[in-house]
Subunit: 418 residues, 2 copies
Amino acid sequence: MLQSKLFTKVRREDPKDEVAKNAKLLIRAGFINKELAGVYAYLPLGLRVLNKINNIIREEMIAIGGVELSMTALQNPEPWKASGRWDEAKVDNWFKTKLREGAELGLGFTHEEPLALLMKNHINSYRDLPIYVFQLQTKFRNEERAKSGIMRGREFLMKDLYSFNKSQTEMDIFYEQAKQAYINIFTRAGLGDQTFVTFASGGSFAKYSHEFQTVCESGEDTIYLSRAKKIAVNKEVYNDEVLADLGLSRAELEEVKAVEVGNIFKLGTRFSEALELNFVDEDGSKKPVIMGSYGIGPGRLMGTVVETLADEAGIVWPTNIAPFDVHLVALDYVKNEAVKKSADNLVAELEKAGLEVLIDDRDASAGAKFSDADLIGIPARLVISQKTLDSGKIEWKDRKTGEVKNLSAGELLTALAK
Amino acid sequence: MLQSKLFTKVRREDPKDEVAKNAKLLIRAGFINKELAGVYAYLPLGLRVLNKINNIIREEMIAIGGVELSMTALQNPEPWKASGRWDEAKVDNWFKTKLREGAELGLGFTHEEPLALLMKNHINSYRDLPIYVFQLQTKFRNEERAKSGIMRGREFLMKDLYSFNKSQTEMDIFYEQAKQAYINIFTRAGLGDQTFVTFASGGSFAKYSHEFQTVCESGEDTIYLSRAKKIAVNKEVYNDEVLADLGLSRAELEEVKAVEVGNIFKLGTRFSEALELNFVDEDGSKKPVIMGSYGIGPGRLMGTVVETLADEAGIVWPTNIAPFDVHLVALDYVKNEAVKKSADNLVAELEKAGLEVLIDDRDASAGAKFSDADLIGIPARLVISQKTLDSGKIEWKDRKTGEVKNLSAGELLTALAK
């Protein structure tokens, strides 16, 4: 893709109304646009990253039996009244709106209630279970403060999976599969080394829920972490009883700041009882369906990658979620016909090899192109110029390590091949 | 995919609270779920159709130079106040909501204003133009009545492309490309024969806008159509002056009901002047950017396909947007080991050939399976049973024509190969 067609312009200065590193860098580099505090549009570069994250999540959810659907933002109050969550004394971050005739509606901040209601049309017998459904859908939360860029938005994409099981055992087995799928997702997205399964409060139906916490200075959570055991405890349940239960001692735990990039939660029959979502079991008895919910915010994940992996020069994307595989910086592309021809040929070859290439075709100085490439953070930066043409080699810089190599086109294709 | 994993159950009876054919059939067959009047969730089958339509649209938009982004639902009132469209006396279908501190927000029903505002960060000079951006994004419209199923929703997906040009000539050329891209979309989606470019009111900046109207009994619009000339005139501009201008006579035009499945609109400088979106032209003078907007509702398109192509037995999907290519009905799949093995093998072979297969693995009667398959409307229905195993042939029924053939597995693969 031609960089001139992206339409976005890199900014030299940080936006004045942002405090979060992720928002500053993503806005400067043209990945997102701030519409309101906590409300961001995804520009072409940002949407490419978001879609790559979404696709990793989708693959892992399908692998554990998830079936994709898409619920709505506008919410009928009825099922929320049944569960008690319509009341703003209990849920303080609703956005509510009205039909023209005056009836009140909500904007969904999650979807347990409407899904439990929907499933009443489809679940009758134990034979209809288990069911695992997920969506990648926009949520709305009326947060009091929104200063964390895309890490805590008032409008944001969420992957939410809901499990419907006939027994606690069946749900427990799925829960462990979901936990592993989450580990796979964070590993594939480049956060594996710094993300830890964290024990948190389980609510009324389970001893614990599990969070996936990424160690991050700007994180809002405090966790107590054993890197050796790859396990952590959220501050909210950090007490002697829990530590004894988990076989952990205070001495082996390190207090760190972290971002919750995902969570999984056993809901038991909290919502199925409220919405009367029952099934007839093998023995003929009627029982409430056992539910679980499993969330990841793809935008928060993207923001966490920026917060934790960026360096002084800008963003550093992990290869699996980078907007492009290769950033080909062509110097004098507009004026030097030989450079243009060589660059266009190389792009064609790279694309033939299955690589996604952003080519900097702009009429800009070498300095501007290099600093913009560092800011945008695509893993491999290639340079073609009159100098590289004369030498017969192309310059390859690894964005993460800074390592530079000069390779022939053939060597380059071999090295970059996926 | 196993039909038992879809979780949706086919209903024998029409839902009582729906009048539109598309809603009745899509709900009965398990493609959508009604959350509220005019607000529908997309279940797995429905989401597959919607995504296929989205992908066709995406490909055609990229082919004419469109770059994808994603704006937000929550809207800052400021740019809308600048254009005059915040006022509910002018726009009567806003959904509005509030931040906790009390500030009013809107839910976007379109995106000219926020995009014009966004482009001010990126457009300075004629060198930055043209720009063509599009999104597949959820819109909210507070419709007074919502009785048309997914053909007129209060919450619905929309593809909206916006053009930003430096001259009227440049915009006119793009407008014609967009018109052709729209024709391609409706043709690929299976509505080509019944969809006509229709002249409609152009507003203040152009003589005409163009609608894409699909002939449909339940349509809300009236158009005057020449099938021979493949052209139509919307009732709103059906007068002697317009007919003379277009070289049409009343005698050659047929009055028909139709659904507007797309529209393209020259906006001129309506929004760029209001939002002060200017550029410096080659001659050094400052000028407002010339804009256009180009909309298609993928859900409305899907609903229109159901309305116009369904028959007595149910939905009939065109091949390019069907949820699956093949519906393999395996009789006694659960109890007959030979049927199960043969069906599983055939699915593996069909999938290897790149076909998407839904296999009816349910423990249900042949009659129920056949009538459900007709209702769901996948183009090719295959039957495997003890009878077909004995004969060495597989039964293939074409959903659209009803034609039945008995073929060997090899013949079938050749016939179905894409």
